[in-house]
């Protein structure tokens, strides 16, 4: 094979003009052929592939929508009593049955969902806000400030949630506000730690140094460079905080430290249901089911988000 042999190469006829020199193609050599994909679009693409996570997302949307339209679907309010129908099993009139005071459990469940989700939403917003700001400052400033700020979190953490609730209840009395406050006081530390860890790592990155060299001030660096890049872990942590808050509220209500009657929340419903467990098991079944499904959905969604947002898994 030391000399050129054919004029015919795999069906292609070679002619003189094909060997004209055209040189390099400046338009072509830096072209990007792949479709452009932002971080969020890419994360959504991955999440969509995760069937379980998408199902969880749908379930959560249904729960939220039902929390608003559920109570409107039946003619009663959450505290309307019907003495002709006490402890009735589920039928075509009372879909989830009634309790010992003749209140419709279907209405109370979705009304309870509203309260439970409200508690979770507000406390999560508080947690995220405090956590991001606190963790961001602690990580960015570093040194002694960081040391002191982290010790404060540890001190708060060393007091059990229950103790906080009892302390707050003594001061503020029983109610929705007290529960939200209790969950918030004990919940933001986790977020702060995650944000701090992210910021510690990110502030060493060269793109942050580049921004500093360009003269960017601290607020610009935190808002434009650090927070957007920490968004993935923040969102993942958030999806685990919401079910945590729902569960804490349910637990507190269950042991009688929660929202007072007649207001319904999933926790109070479950607590009442437990008393009737042996005679009327359906009274516990529905609220317990709702709590479990919602918790499970949030956790699966959180796992799915972790897979789709974690940059280490990106290819």
């Amino acid at each position: 094979m030391s000399e050129v042999k054919t004029e015919q190469v795999e069906g292609l006829k070679l002619t003189e003009d094909m060997f004209q020199r055209i040189g390099k193609d400046e338009k072509d050599y830096d072209k990007i052929v792949r479709p452009s994909l932002t971080y969020w679009a890419d994360a959504w693409r991955r999440l969509k592939e995760n069937k379980l996570a998408i199902m969880s997302l749908i379930i959560l949307i249904v729960v939220v929508v039902m929390a608003f339209i559920g109570p409107l679907m039946r003619p009663w309010a959450y505290d309307d009593q019907d003495f002709t129908a006490i402890n009735k099993a589920p039928d075509s009139v009372h879909w989830f049955g009634t309790d010992d005071l003749g209140r419709d459990i279907f209405v109370r469940c979705w009304d309870g969902a509203k309260i439970s989700l409200f508690v979770a939403l507000i406390s999560t917003i508080i947690n995220v806000t405090i956590g991001v700001v606190y963790g961001g400052i602690s990580g960015y400033v570093g040194g002694r400030t960081d040391l002191i700020m982290m010790r404060i979190i540890e001190i708060i953490y060393s007091i059990p949630v229950l103790l906080w609730v009892i302390l707050l209840m003594v001061v503020l009395g029983q109610g929705l506000g007290t529960i939200i406050l209790a969950i918030s006081i004990t919940g933001w530390g986790g977020m702060a730690r995650i944000v701090r860890g992210q910021v510690l790592q990110l502030k060493q990155m060269e793109f942050v140094l580049a921004a500093q060299t360009l003269g960017a001030d601290t607020s610009r660096i935190i808002l434009k460079h650090l927070i957007p890049n920490a968004m993935g872990p923040i969102i993942i942590n958030l999806t685990f905080q919401v079910p945590g808050a729902i569960f804490t509220e349910a637990m507190l209500s269950y042991i009688g430290l929660g929202i007072p009657e007649p207001t319904a929340s999933w926790g109070t419903l479950a607590e009442k249901g437990t008393k009737m467990l042996l005679i009327h098991p359906y009274q516990l079944l529905y609220p317990a089911l709702l709590i479990s499904i919602t918790m499970l959905a949030f956790n699966i969604l959180g796992d799915g988000l972790r897979d789709s947002l974690d940059p280490r898994l990106r290819q």
Partner: protein
């Protein structure tokens, strides 16, 4: 060292120590002095951990010097107030080593290049966009690239984007911190040529930090060699390669591979024994004494002075006469 009116930057007895806790101090830069003339390229070479990047970062004000001073165009960089500091950042910029870590993955190329323009409020709206397109063209990319994100580009392309970002605020001086070490050899020349063209067109001054000596020789007018936080030799780049005086420089030069099998096979390498000692507790005396084959008793006790041994050829060594 002579300082004439062409001198843009002077570092005098610059020191940067890092406190790593438990009373231990890393002496990353331990008293080095040099000057850079307007429009020239000073190469700064040394192995990883020798403190060369710390020098670059201290000069542009990312770190505060532990001791010594940096004078840039008559200003003492360590003593600037907030407003002066912002003014200084417009004059002195930096290009980073890692093309993957040096661009914010959540920002588009437009916003990355436009960041300096925004911070210093140079242009707005249409003018800003036009300036960004122009800069992309300067570094050999096109406006179609402007709306994309960093992860869609190759290493060489990213490095060019990093250069455009630095150029956006029209600096006079750029610290190039190993801008080509992470790139393929075939791409390195693109970036080096670009830097040279920019220097010719805009009259830029460079501090070019690298461990690749062949590229440093190509781009630099003068070269400084660092070892373990100290400067061991400084000379015109031709002189340094023709007549390296310090034993470390000699070893460094002989280690550079040459893409020619015949030359390689007949070449005698000076292989350095052992490794670079830790900068936490550097040895007393000359920092290179532990690995130097010409070591004398005095080297173990007294740190050699940085003295002019030839014309514009400085070296810190007791043995060199």
């Amino acid at each position: 060292m002579a300082e004439d009116k062409n001198t843009l930057l002077v570092a005098r007895d610059l020191k940067k120590y890092f406190d790593i806790g438990r009373g231990q101090v890393v002496k990353a830069v331990d008293g080095i002095s040099f000057s850079i003339k307007e429009g020239e390229t000073l190469g700064l070479v040394g192995e990883s951990g020798c403190g060369k990047s710390t020098v670059g970062r201290t000069i542009v004000g990312l770190y505060d010097a532990t001791d010594g001073e940096v004078i840039f165009d008559g200003m003492n960089v360590g003593e600037l107030d907030k407003k002066e500091k912002k003014h200084f950042t417009r004059k002195a910029q930096m290009i980073f080593q890692d093309p993957y870590a040096s661009l914010n993955p959540r920002m588009t190329i437009t916003d990355i290049i436009g960041e300096g323009i925004d911070i210093h409020e140079l242009y707005e709206g249409k003018e800003r966009q036009k300036r960004i397109y122009d800069l992309l063209e300067v570094v050999g990319l096109s406006r179609e690239h402007a709306s994309r994100f960093p992860h869609e580009f190759s290493g060489g392309q990213r490095q060019r984007i990093g250069i455009a970002r630095a150029l956006a605020i029209e600096p006079r001086f750029i610290v190039c911190d190993e801008p080509i070490s992470a790139l393929d050899v075939s791409i390195q020349a693109q970036v080096v040529n670009l830097l040279e063209d920019l220097q010719d067109d805009l009259g830029l001054t460079y501090l070019f930090i690298a461990h690749d000596l062949s590229m440093v020789k190509h781009i630099s007018d003068r070269i400084a060699v660092m070892y373990l936080g100290a400067m061991v030799e400084l000379a015109d780049s031709h002189d340094l390669y023709e007549q390296p005086l310090h034993p470390y420089t000699q070893a460094l030069l002989s280690a550079v591979p040459i893409p020619d099998p015949d030359i390689e096979k007949s070449r005698q390498r000076i292989i350095l024994e052992g490794d670079v000692p830790s900068p936490i507790n550097p040895p007393p005396g000359c920092k290179f004494q532990g690995r130097c084959k010409y070591v004398q008793p005095i080297c173990r006790e007294v740190a050699p002075e940085f003295k002019e041994k030839g014309k514009n050829h400085f070296v810190a060594c007791h043995v060199v006469k």
